[in-house]
Amino acid sequence: MTDFPGAPSGPSTSPRLRVLAAMSGGVDSAVAAARAVEAGHEVTGVHLALAANPQSFRTGARGCCTLEDSRDARRAADVIGIPFYVWDLAERFREDVIDDFVAEYAAGRTPNPCLRCNEKIKFAALLDRALALGFDAVCTGHYARIVELPGGGRELHRAVDAAKDQSYVLGVLDAQQLAHSLFPLGDTTKEQIRAEAERRDLAVAKKPDSHDICFIADGDTQGFLAERLGRAPGDILDADGTKLGEHDGAYGFTIGQRKGLRIGHPAPDGKPRYVLDISPVDNTVTVGPAAGLDVLGLTAIRPRWCGPAPVGAGRYTAQLRAHGEEVPVTAELAGGQLRVALDTPARGIAPGQAVVLYDGTRVVGSATIAETERRAVAEI
């Protein structure tokens, strides 16, 4: 078989596995499947039908799971030369990802559905089914690296392509899930993957990247939520409780949001105002100056560890949102909750998002942010 530059070369020392390759119809998962074949594994392709009523065609870069994506995945599987099936996980996806997404917003939090999908669908529903059917591993086109330790065990690391790194959304995987995962793209840049796809005659080589939320095809998250949660007018307040305006639903806001507040008059100091708090209980949104967003520490729940859970306080770097920067922290597991103290204040941190802890490039674990500690606005 031809060796492709950028692909892992030389005889593989790893055993031949029965691999189920999740194929979205995009370029990454197609190349990942091809590389798994080339590594000597027995690969079967599967496209997950996640939308209950798939659209016929993609519109721009958004969305996935259209019939066209399914066809693209099938054609890639043909070219790679592997069997291909479509599995309908739409019901599980709706329950575990979409309903959760809506419920989280309704509770004033800002969920990350990709993380949730990895935790509940790709590396749970799909992996469980694959293992039960006799597969050894699930392979995806995520940009992350798995490092095998000499004494057994595996570590999850950031991809070499920092811009494409997806280890943040994989931070929910535990050791058991990692043991059955294959991420063949972690050592390559996106640019190289596209070139490789071209060389492999994969028609998806030039297909645009998908981003945004796959189940909100038009990208209108507010409209999507409004349709499901209905209009719920309430007040927009400043930090001391003065009413500044009204909103159509507190769920429509995200902490740190600046645009679309519809507050008629400027702040007394003339500086822009940001959403500081969302309170679903009294349906209010509190706004204030940027400094009010400074987070000094946080408490996170539902911790998940890629290896053994750390004991005692430890020094890490933390990523606090998708594509966010890493910040140095001290973190400690106490009473099933993760306490994280930031060395320097950080902004744009919302409950519902995940905190992922890193040790260098290694992913240590993750937890869902429940509460943040901020300076009282009065102190600012």
Binding site: R71, Y85, L133, G134
Partner: protein, 418 residues
């Protein structure tokens, strides 16, 4: 000429690679148990078809080449008519079963409604193939049809009394009746002649889709009393993309395709001469061999059913358990606790080709409307698998399946239902 280099030219390449290849099967028989989806072409049909592929001639042309082509078409038509108990003028060649069904259902509905606007009721079995079912839905949504599903028993059979009852509620408003000859999923045979006799009493045209029945049970258009009957080539060892609507001479459906006026002005389009020849040959042989084939294939099927049940005692045979009441080549099971598509994948990986038997959208299996119509639980309806035999089936095929099915079902059970 330069040859085009396709990746993976070996047609078996993608199909045969699989994670669970059992050494007992590699290199041996690869059982194809999906003849209800399509059948291998008969060598005689391939010969008849290829003989005409290189010959020029539009069957509608008036010159020698045209006459030569037309002669092949007309001889094919005569052959089809003789095999199917019809007159040559009653054979309307089409592009296959779906087109024939659509032409019958829509065309007859339009014609009847045009003649009498009160006739908008369409009486239909709920176990029809999608080519009929979706055509009928479309008429309801766009053409003001009132669709009434005739009640079926637990095997998917429409009883003549049920049809009579439905017609008698308001005989003057019925546009047409459409009931399939044999069900494509569970293999149940329907009492077509008795149903047609009821429709005839009221002067209502009746259509039957006999795509699955042809070659497995005797089909005689004249004796059936039907006004329209659908058959297709590729289910009986003929080519894809060609079929016929047998149409009583009094019936003039409104065409789906307008154009050159071929085929009684009911189905325009240049006639496909090689396909007609291949189709006619396949139908002639299927009918000639039907009695013998039915006995042989029923023997294999009975063996298959017994051995699947022995390997998987929980398996439920769907459709009529009486061999006389179902297609001789059909075996359709539900495997409780399993997902049909998981079973299909595991068998496929072992080189055994079967079907969940239900319609797919983008490859996503839907719970079978046939099983739902006969009262099956939706979970059970998603746990089914159809094995359909054909002219190339052998005892070795059944042996391989019998050996594989037990472990496959166990594995699928572990994966459970979603």
């Amino acid at each position: 000429m330069q040859s085009v280099q396709w990746p993976n030219r070996d047609p078996g390449h993608a199909l045969r690679r699989g994670p669970f290849q059992c050494s007992a099967y590699t290199g041996a028989a690869m059982p194809y148990l999906d003849h209800a989806a399509t059948t291998p072409m008969l060598p005689e049909a391939i010969a008849a078809m290829t003989a005409h592929l290189g010959v020029t001639g539009n069957a509608s042309s008036l010159h020698a080449a045209g006459r030569r082509a037309r002669r092949v078409v007309e001889e094919s038509r005569e052959s089809l008519a003789a095999a199917l108990g019809a007159r040559p003028s009653e054979i309307v060649l089409t592009g296959g079963g779906t087109e024939s069904d659509n032409l019958a259902v829509k065309g007859l509905y339009w014609a009847r409604r045009d003649a009498d606007p009160a006739r908008t009721r369409v009486l239909c079995s709920p176990v029809e193939h999608h080519a009929v079912l979706d055509a009928v839905h479309w008429l309801a949504e766009h053409e003001g049809a009132q669709v009434e599903y005739l009640p079926v028993d637990g095997h998917g059979r429409v009883h003549p009394e049920a049809l009579r009852e439905a017609i008698e509620r308001e005989p003057g408003s019925v546009a047409l009746v459409t009931v399939m000859w044999a069900n494509n999923e569970i293999g149940t045979l329907l009492p077509i002649a008795e149903l047609a006799a009821v429709a005839k009493e009221f002067g209502i045209p009746m259509h039957a889709d006999a795509v699955q029945a042809l070659g497995q049970v005797p089909i005689d258009f004249a004796a059936s009393g039907l006004d329209a009957l659908t058959v297709t080539g590729h289910k009986v060892g003929g080519p894809y993309g060609v079929g016929a609507l047998l149409l009583g001479r009094g019936q003039t459906p409104v065409p789906l395709l307008h154009g050159g006026g071929q085929e009684r002005d009911v189905r325009s389009g240049t006639l496909d001469v090689p396909a007609a020849a291949g189709f006619a040959t396949a139908v002639r042989l299927a009918v000639e061999r039907q009695a013998e084939h039915a006995v042989a294939v029923a023997g294999l099927r009975d063996d298959l059913v017994a051995r699947v049940r022995a390997a998987v005692p929980a398996a439920v045979l769907n459709g009529d358990p009486d061999p006389a009441g179902r297609l001789p080549a059909n075996a359709h099971f539900s495997f409780p606790g399993c997902e049909g598509d998981a079973l299909l994948m595991l068998l496929d990986a072992a080189g055994i080709e079967a079907s969940t038997g239900s319609a797919c959208s983008a490859g996503v299996p839907q719970p079978s409307h046939v099983l739902l119509a006969i009262g099956a639980d939706p979970l059970l309806a998603r746990s089914s698998l159809r094995f359909s035999l054909g002219h190339t089936s052998t005892k070795a095929d059944v042996d391989v399946l019998a050996e594989a099915i037990g472990p496959v079902v166990q594995r699928a059970e572990r994966a459970g239902q979603r």
